[in-house]
């Protein structure tokens, strides 16, 4: 019976959270010390203490210099994110937040630039070209201009859009219609390498539009290319065709209600998004989900990672004409959804996690079913490997296609399999283990070249490593105990108590009506998603709705390098490279 109880029998004895108390991160002191160390080496920054990362407030005039110093002197080579937060009551109402990561020192840093209405910030593109789209997004969402940005136009919303939706005074439901005449004409810039050749070329240059409804763009990406003969000499991409306003919607829903929205970010690996979001809120609340919940979260995350890679490789091969593999890869995926559905009640978007644990316990035959899956998946991987890995037709189509160098990949903010295919072994599960990943024996696969074939090899090997992790977890067995914390301010009391006890009914009512109210503050937490570092940055003002939820979508950073990757190649190469990047529109456009 003990393995089946949903809640522990030990009553919660901790204090009731008082509204609007400040958030004190567990490692605040360590971060303060590290922050002071960094501040002593960089001039012109003001340290903000009591944060979960070393945080500095920087004058907007100094930001490019500070970024440059951080990149070159302190090895913060990976630009993670740049986004805005709006505080309308402040005189300088916008915070432009930069987050950087250093792979060598395994540390993160956060910079804040405060700007007022109508002011602009110098663009950081000379330092990190990977912040290109992030700056465009800030411009689109908040209307903060970046001086010196070469292409500062709207990115997620459309051309007829008025106003800046993530400002607090923007009505979340205010729509603007786009007519066919309003669609912007995109003319790609010619790559400098090909700029002079036009006169010598025998061909007239043709501009060709791919998408957004094109089978190889999987629905929602638009690529405009200029061709010289068959060679792509210039390309531009347009995104935002699936901009579902995740961040604005999070602000209008309670912390619990955001969980179904996070499902729909990277819908191929929904549970990983749930894990990322729930763990961020848990970090803020200072609670730890029970061992049993962590165990199930880990197994399901790894299964979802396998599913994500299966879809990526399957559809990538379909785009190249290898339809059989699609069926070989979708067969185990469908079986996998049998397991997910048996646990969570839905196949693709389970909304299984709750803040503090899981919605319900796993079914009694969970481990047997998982074992059966783990036993069956390698067979399909081997079949696909036999069909394509050494097949010369496949190799000719993917080797050397869509290459990116390790330096460029870092500069563009690549994470996940695409970065590992360039030879950089950065994996959040190793660098900052969560859910007990540090206790499992697994390897991070890397490959050389950063081309489509390398990405295929890394993904295949990663699936095998995930299977290894799941096998070890199965061998350890399901931990006993509850699957959700016994804290009535976070988790709903069990139904038997709600029906029977007045006190539990009141807690139940309070939690539904008033929601979870984390302390006031901000925090960032990252997990390894299917495509790379999936981070959530949450600002709480102590009310039931998040003040700001920022998701760091790994695809977004990766896709902005796409034009660079395909220039000089042909259209079929572009299709092959696009599939191998695994661009999930829900995450890309959030």
């Amino acid at each position: 019976m003990s393995t089946l109880t949903k809640y522990s029998d030990i009553p919660y004895t901790g204090p009731a959270p008082t509204n609007r108390e400040p958030y004190v991160p567990a490692d605040a002191e360590k971060m303060n010390a590290r922050g002071a160390e960094i501040a002593s080496r960089i001039s012109g920054v003001t340290q903000e203490t009591g944060q979960d990362l070393p945080t500095f407030v920087v004058d907007k005039e100094r930001i490019v210099d500070v970024l440059r110093a951080l990149k070159h002197d302190l090895k913060f080579t990976l630009p993670l994110d740049c986004f805005g937060v709006d505080y309308p009551r402040r005189e300088q109402r916008f915070d432009i937040v930069y987050q950087l990561y250093s792979i060598e020192n395994n540390e993160r840093v956060r910079l804040k630039v405060r700007v007022g209405e109508g002011e602009s910030v110098p663009s950081s593109l000379p330092v990190y070209q990977g912040l290109n789209w992030f700056e465009r997004e800030v411009f689109d969402m908040f209307g903060v201009k970046f001086d010196g940005h070469p292409n500062l136009r709207r990115i997620l919303t459309h051309e007829n859009f008025q106003g800046h939706p993530l400002r607090k005074d923007y009505d979340p439901a205010q729509r603007w219609l786009l007519t066919e005449e309003g669609v912007a004409k995109i003319i790609p810039q010619i790559d400098p390498r090909f700029a002079q050749e036009e006169a010598e070329s025998d061909f007239e240059r043709v501009t060709l539009n791919l998408g957004p409804s094109h089978p190889a763009t999987h629905g929602t990406l638009r690529i405009v290319v200029t061709l010289d003969g068959e060679t792509i000499v210039g390309a531009d991409t347009e995104i935002g065709y699936l901009h579902r306003c995740f961040e604005k919607m999070s602000e209008t829903h309670t912390y619990q209600q955001v969980i179904p929205f996070t499902d729909r970010l990277n819908y191929c690996s929904a549970i990983i998004n749930n894990v990322g979001y729930c763990m961020t809120v848990e970090k803020m609340l200072g609670i730890q989900s029970p061992a049993r919940a962590d165990y199930v979260r880990l197994i399901l995350s790894e299964l979802m990672r396998i599913g994500d890679h299966l879809i990526c490789i399957g559809t990538n091969l379909v785009d190249m004409g290898a339809l059989t593999n699609f069926w070989y890869l979708f067969q185990p995926r469908e079986e996998m959804y049998g397991l997910i559905e048996a646990c969570c009640g839905a196949r693709l978007l389970p909304s299984y996690l709750r803040i503090g644990g899981l919605a319900v316990d796993v079914p009694p035959n969970f481990l047997q079913m998982t074992q059966k899956l783990v036993d069956s998946i390698p067979r399909f991987l081997d079949d696909v490997d036999k069909l394509v890995r050494t097949n010369r037709i496949f190799r000719d189509r993917v080797e050397g296609i869509g290459p990116i160098s390790a330096e460029d990949a870092l500069d563009f903010g690549f994470t996940g399999p695409c970065l590992r295919a360039c030879g950089i072994p950065y994996d959040v599960r190793k660098a900052n283990p969560y859910l007990g990943y540090e206790t499992y024996d697994f390897d991070v696969p890397i490959a050389d070249g950063g081309d489509t074939y390398a990405r295929y090899l890394v993904r295949m090997e990663e699936m095998r490593q995930s299977l290894r992790i799941i096998q070890q977890a199965i061998d350890r067995g399901l931990p006993t105990g509850p699957v959700i914390v016994d804290n009535p301010y976070v988790a709903l009391p069990p139904k038997s108590k709600v029906y029977n006890e007045m006190e539990s009914l009141i807690y139940h009512f309070k939690l539904i009506m008033h929601g979870i109210q984390p302390p006031v503050g901000e925090t960032y937490f990252q997990v390894e998603g299917g495509n790379g570092e999936l981070g959530f940055y949450i600002v709480s003002d102590g009310t039931k709705n998040p003040y700001r939820v920022r998701v760091r979508p790994p695809c977004f950073a990766i896709y902005q390098a796409f034009t660079k990757m395909i220039t000089g190649q042909t259209i079929p190469d572009a299709i092959a490279a696009l599939g191998s990047l695994n661009i999930i529109a829900g995450e890309l456009d959030h």
Partner: protein, 195 residues
């Protein structure tokens, strides 16, 4: 109610045998409004011969639906599940997935339609030859779902006509198949007359 299980040792997915869509343990207990027998539209005025011809044409149309998946988001993944190994839509003549609107007569709108892609959807619908049918799959396409937001179309019937609505977020592959079967039934009964 007795359920006959059809076990497959290779699969962890349990199955049962049933007879018809919508039938099983649920039948009779849960019915959606309008689910029961509906009046077939009167065909008064038509001569015997043209009526028969109509029936043959409708039968042919209903059994050769060529879908164009306008897949944008999560529902597109479930659509892929429907055309992959566990489900067999070819039995109903609808497996020929065409990405060119000129070669398709059933548009399955799978996924959120946002304002930015709305003109594209309209254009593609207009490019399809008659007769054409539209299935709106999933919460977002049918009504915007829980995205009551500044950039999301609140149901594609703002833009194009819809024949079948499939609720679910996303609908299961069998739920979508049920929608296709229902559309087929409607076409064969001559309830949809266009083109």
């Amino acid at each position: 109610m007795p359920v006959q299980n059809v076990d497959n040792p290779n699969s962890i997915i349990p199955r049962k045998s049933a007879t018809a869509p919508g039938e099983g343990a649920e039948k009779g207990l849960i019915t959606l409004p309008g689910e029961s027998e509906r009046e077939v539209e009167g065909i008064g005025g038509a001569t015997y011969l043209t009526t028969k011809l109509d029936q043959v044409v409708n039968w042919a149309r209903g059994n050769s639906l060529w879908p164009l998946p306008f897949g944008t988001a999560c529902c597109a993944i479930e659509f892929m599940s429907m055309v992959s190994s566990h489900y067999d839509i070819a039995r109903f003549g609808a497996e020929v997935v065409r990405f060119s609107p000129r070669q398709a007569d059933l548009m399955i709108v799978a996924g959120t339609i946002v304002d930015k892609i709305a003109p594209v959807l309209k254009k593609i619908y207009e490019q399809m030859p008659e007769p054409k049918y539209v299935i709106a799959m999933g919460a977002c396409a049918t009504s915007g779902g829980f995205y009551r937001a500044y950039h999301v179309v609140q149901g594609i019937d703002e833009i194009i006509p819809v024949d079948i609505w499939v609720p679910g977020c996303p609908p299961t592959p069998d739920g979508l198949m049920y929608g296709i079967l229902k559309l087929k039934e409607k076409i064969e009964r001559g309830e949809i007359r266009r083109g």
